[in-house]
């Protein structure tokens, strides 16, 4: 902040100026009188007239709003099953599908190949009949009983 420069350097010594400045800054503005009684007659009369006119104002009838109708509660909907229970049918269907898939993809019995079939084909047997000799050769034997087929192979490495 710039130093105050006394325009009249020879007027008053600094301490006196400082004192004056302090007194000046300490001054408080006197607030105007509030009470109507402290006002002049014309002011009082003017304010009283306005008061009277204001208090005698004709107030229009208020438009009271109609209360909102109370909404009827909707009937309780059917209770929903718990979420887990709702999934049961889907789980059951998935299990069935999985079971079908597993049964369909079961590895088939190893067959000796088409060679055995070509040599001798067993006659069709019914489920009612017992095991039947389906094929016989020097190095393999095939037995069949219904859907079950047993094939025995001779280990050619031992010869």
């Amino acid at each position: 902040m710039a130093e105050y420069e006394d325009p009249l350097p020879n007027s008053l010594p600094d301490p006196a100026l400082d004192e004056l400045r302090r007194a000046w800054r300490g001054l408080e503005a006197e607030l105007p009188a509030e009470g109507l009684a402290q006002q002049d007659a014309q002011t009082r009369a003017s304010v009283e007239w306005v008061r009277a006119a204001w208090s005698q104002l004709a107030v229009p009838e208020p438009r009271v709003p109609d209360p909102l109708p109370v909404l009827e509660l909707m009937p309780e909907p059917m209770p929903r099953r718990p979420a887990l229970l709702r999934l049961v049918p889907y789980a059951a269907a998935a299990a069935v599908l999985l079971a079908l898939w597993f049964t369909q993809s079961e590895p088939s019995v190893q067959r000796s190949g088409e060679a055995a079939r070509n040599e001798r084909d067993a006659s069709n047997t019914t489920d009612d009949e017992g095991p039947q000799l389906a094929a016989l050769s020097s190095n393999h034997l095939e037995l069949r009983s219904g859907p079950v087929r047993l094939i025995l192979l001779k280990d050619l490495r031992t010869q």
Binding site: P32, D40, W49, V50, A53, L57, A58, P62
Partner: protein, 205 residues
């Protein structure tokens, strides 16, 4: 000159508002009829236009009703009247801001100034002159700048203290007193010579 009517005791107001909040239709009607006159007069004071004040008062009542739950109706809550008056004041300030072009306001003020300056003031106590009284009142209030008008309405008409008025207006109490002094001086200039029996002389010499 009669002062504004006594206000309902705080406790009665709290009880009534609790009944309104509880959903009582009858309490809502009673609350409306108890509050609306004061709200309307405040709006006239702030807006200096009774036609607009009628709309404003209806809007304010709906506003107050919508926000009643926000006012703490317990015994330790804020007093009702300052809360209500704050809502009214803010609403009227918004309306004043949104008024059509300043030219229209100036034209209105000019017309009202002409009416304010003409002839002896009607007597508020005479029922037959109520229409003229209202017109003259609006004209006079319209001559006050908005802030002076607020201070005058809250202090001299609503009988609030400077501190209460300052709290509502969002200014210092000293500023309220200054605005009030200016408003009174202006009113004196507008009305003194028109008041019967007062004359034009300044009695305090």
């Amino acid at each position: 000159m009669p002062l504004p009517p006594d206000k309902a005791p705080q406790e009665a107001t709290r009880t009534l508002i609790r009944e309104v909040l509880a959903g009582s239709t009858d309490a809502l009607d009673r609350w409306y009829r108890a509050e609306h006159p004061e709200v309307f007069r405040l709006c006239v004071g702030f807006l200096a236009d009774s036609a607009e004040a009628e709309d404003a008062a209806q809007d304010v009542m709906l506003h107050l009703h919508d926000r009643l739950a926000r006012w703490d109706s317990s015994d330790s809550g804020r007093p009702w009247r300052p809360w209500r008056d704050t809502v009214v004041l803010n609403h009227c300030r918004d309306r004043l801001r949104k008024r059509a072009a300043r030219e229209r306001a100036h034209v209105r003020a000019g017309e009202q100034a002409e009416r304010a300056a003409a002839g002896v003031l009607p007597d508020p106590s005479v029922e037959a002159q109520q229409g003229e009284v209202r017109a003259a009142l609006e004209a006079v209030l319209a001559q006050l700048p908005p802030r002076e008008r607020e201070a005058f309405v809250l202090r001299d008409l609503e009988q609030l203290t400077s501190a209460e008025a300052a709290d509502l207006m969002g200014i210092e109490a000293g500023s309220v007193r200054s605005l009030l002094t200016l408003a009174r001086r202006r009113l004196r200039g507008l009305l003194a010579e028109r008041l019967p029996g007062v004359g034009g002389a300044d009695s305090d010499g």
